[in-house]
């Protein structure tokens, strides 16, 4: 029972990070109707920028969030302005392939610069754990989960309580009506892409605390992001949070009770099952 509780809580903690990681993908799809395959590139960039800042200057990954989040916003907005915007009236698959190309370029640049070796990022608290009664929890997981939840609260505030959030939601609901109401749709698109990319890069920063740093990082976690948004609803922030936690718990229970090698299989199976068995509600 103790093991079950420990694994369950541990799964909840990592699941919040999955949700945080995935929300940017859902936001961009909701506003731009674009499936952002470059999400994997931003996740990987977040991991590498964090690792580099830590390796070169000894900066703690959590402090790196101050760099990766704004950098992600800037890069994301730039990608939207320079690339995605030009294809806004093209068939969806064109944008899909374009963003896939962006991801491949980023991945191969990382291979060129850093090589293919998997790297680790260790902090003073990497090995720390906290005992709560019979349940022992990893400190990095607790910290990362707390930051993810903070990010969710901040995002919910922006979307619900600010003009920018209102504009984002308006464009997501009806681009034409939003434009007729005087909302600068082009700017909202860039903002949405920027926020989504900032979420991805900052998620990469958080996840660098317990996952290996490799150019293939994005490939692994983009699939999990798809799984979460498909399950939770593409723009439903609450649904994404629940889906992320569900995936995290399912993965950890599978790893503990069946085999650690099957952990990633869970998200593959869930994604395939979700795509086959239910109609995706793009409106969340």
């Amino acid at each position: 029972m103790t093991d079950f509780l420990s694994v369950l809580v541990s799964g909840v903690l990592v699941g919040t990070v999955y949700a945080y990681m995935a929300y940017g993908l859902g936001l961009i799809y909701g506003v731009l109707r674009v499936v952002n395959l470059a999400h994997g590139a931003f996740l990987t960039l977040g991991v590498y920028v964090t690792w580099w800042l830590h390796f070169t200057f000894g900066i703690d990954p959590l402090v790196s969030l101050l760099v990766t989040a704004p950098l992600g916003f800037g890069l994301g907005a730039a990608v939207e302005r320079t690339l995605v915007f030009r294809l806004r009236d093209s068939p969806p698959v064109t944008t899909l392939l374009l963003l896939f190309g962006v991801w491949l370029i980023v991945r191969n640049v990382l291979y060129l610069v850093f090589g293919g070796t998997d790297r680790s990022l260790l902090t003073s608290y990497s090995l720390e754990s906290l005992a709560l009664g019979p349940v022992t929890l990893s400190i990095p997981r607790i910290v990362v989960s707390a930051f993810s939840l903070l990010g969710f609260v901040a995002l919910a505030f922006v979307l619900k309580r600010t003009w920018a959030g209102l504009a984002l939601r308006a464009v997501a609901q009806d681009r034409g009506a939003a434009a007729l109401s005087g909302i600068p749709v082009d700017r909202v698109w860039a903002t949405a892409f920027g926020i989504g990319s900032a979420l991805a890069m900052s998620a990469g920063t958080l996840m660098s605390l317990f996952y290996s740093v490799t150019p293939e990082f994005g490939a692994r976690f983009l699939l999990k992001s798809f799984c979460v948004v498909v399950l939770g609803g593409l723009t439903n922030i609450g649904g994404i949070l629940v889906a992320g936690i569900g995936l995290g718990v399912a993965e950890d229970l599978t790893a503990f009770y069946i085999h650690t090698g099957f952990r990633d299989v869970v998200s593959f199976l869930v994604l395939v099952a979700a795509l086959v068995m239910r109609r995706v509600d793009a409106e969340g």
Partner: protein
């Protein structure tokens, strides 16, 4: 219809996932150019951040002090810090094509050596690997030899030690996923331990670079094994053992589970970092610097005098690999690859930093292993195991 972009994206993503071995450029320093216009260049490949070229240099300097190789001075062309197989292959090609290397020595990682072996075969250059231990290393062809024992032997040594000497009847094995050395020796250990009547209570793998081992540790603790065999490198060993000990990790009788390792543990990092979790652990390796054997002692003393540190097993087999080639070429009286190959294969009772009885048909050496233990933060000789 709204599922189409998601489905399309997922399909592309699934296709993209199988690309872990994408090529990367060689990032190691450029080889040192030879000063002698007609030296016999010997390529020396070092995977990762290891000191193994030191061992090779001692062998080369000894040969040059005796007049060189067939009237020519010997130059070691060293390429260090090779991060992956692609970089090792590129370095090997450069050594052969640009430096006219007469032999390749190394690399020390099996995954790299397997790829480099094909290069040596293609160019008709003899090759002797250093600390690479996977038996598949020599599969590239007749010109590829090993200086180290194989993981088949090493896995057997550690399984026998666990079962017979430690009295363990249940064991856990944790290997690095997709890594030929780690998974290979893990399989040999499992097969042998089971054949002895032991139970493998846990046999799983982790990803390279992983830092959070809480789930694996918890699963291992639930299995309560008497020993855990971790044939992995220092970074993961340090993290894994510390996280497992913190749970704690105990056997069925409530005693601390004993950690076992292999020759990848034989590097200064594990001890220098003072990891308390590995205290009382045992690991197999190529030689002990405490050996009383005269030729091993001579090597250790030379190494210490020259570099100010104590050699590890990888240094020892690197020294041996270079010497094996030089002695075989001398006996052959030629640098012809086929002649050298025949002489390496004919090696008998070689005595260097380690000893080799002979080579078998697969070009694997028949030689002893030693088991070291970690006591008070220092490694010390525990026993020698002969084939």
């Amino acid at each position: 219809m709204r599922t189409t972009p998601i489905a399309c994206a997922a399909a592309i993503l699934l296709a993209a996932c199988d690309d872990r071995a994408a090529p990367t450029p060689a990032t190691a320093p450029a080889p040192v150019a030879a000063a002698d216009p007609m030296p016999a260049n010997v390529g020396f490949l070092v995977s990762g951040d290891r000191t193994y070229a030191n061992g090779g240099m001692i062998a080369v300097d000894e040969a040059n002090a005796r007049g060189g190789l067939l009237g020519r001075s010997v130059e070691l062309i060293v390429r260090m810090g090779l991060e992956d197989a692609a970089a090792a292959v590129a370095a090997a090609e450069t050594m052969i094509l640009d430096f006219d290397a007469v032999a390749l020595i190394g690399p020390n990682r099996s995954a790299h050596a397997i790829e480099v072996g094909a290069v040596a075969e293609r160019h008709g250059v003899p090759m002797i690997t250093t600390a690479a231990t996977n038996p598949g290393v020599t599969g590239a062809g007749e010109l590829v030899f090993m200086a180290a024992f194989t993981d088949r032997f090493q896995g057997r040594v550690m399984a026998d030690f666990a079962f017979d000497s430690l009295g363990a009847t249940s064991a856990a094995v944790l290997t690095e996923r997709g890594e030929v050395y780690s998974e290979g020796i893990g399989e040999f250990f499992v097969d042998r331990f089971r054949s002895l009547g032991g139970v493998i209570a846990f046999d799983e793998s982790y990803e390279r670079g992983q830092t959070d081992f809480t789930l694996e540790s918890r699963s291992m603790a639930a299995a309560a094994p008497a020993v855990v065999f971790i044939p992995s490198w220092e970074d993961e060993v340090a993290l894994l053992t510390e996280q497992a000990r913190a749970l704690p990790l105990l056997d069925a009788d409530g005693e601390p589970t004993v950690f076992l390792g292999a020759d990848a543990w034989d590097n200064p990092t594990i001890l220098e970092e003072g990891i308390p979790a590995v205290e009382g652990s045992f690991f197999s390796t190529h030689f002990s610097p405490d050996s009383d054997d005269p030729t091993a002692r001579a090597f250790v003393e030379t190494y210490r005098a020259r570099y100010g540190i104590t050699p590890v097993g990888g240094d020892a087999v690197s020294y041996d690999a270079v010497r094996l080639f030089l002695e075989a070429a001398t006996r052959a009286g030629s640098l012809d690859a086929e002649a050298v190959r025949r002489e390496i294969l004919a090696t008998e009772n070689y005595a260097g930093a380690t000893h080799i009885s002979h080579y078998d048909d697969l070009r694997h050496p028949t030689k002893s292993a030693v088991i070291l233990t970690i006591v008070d933060g220092m490694k010390s000789f525990h026993q020698q195991v002969d084939p």
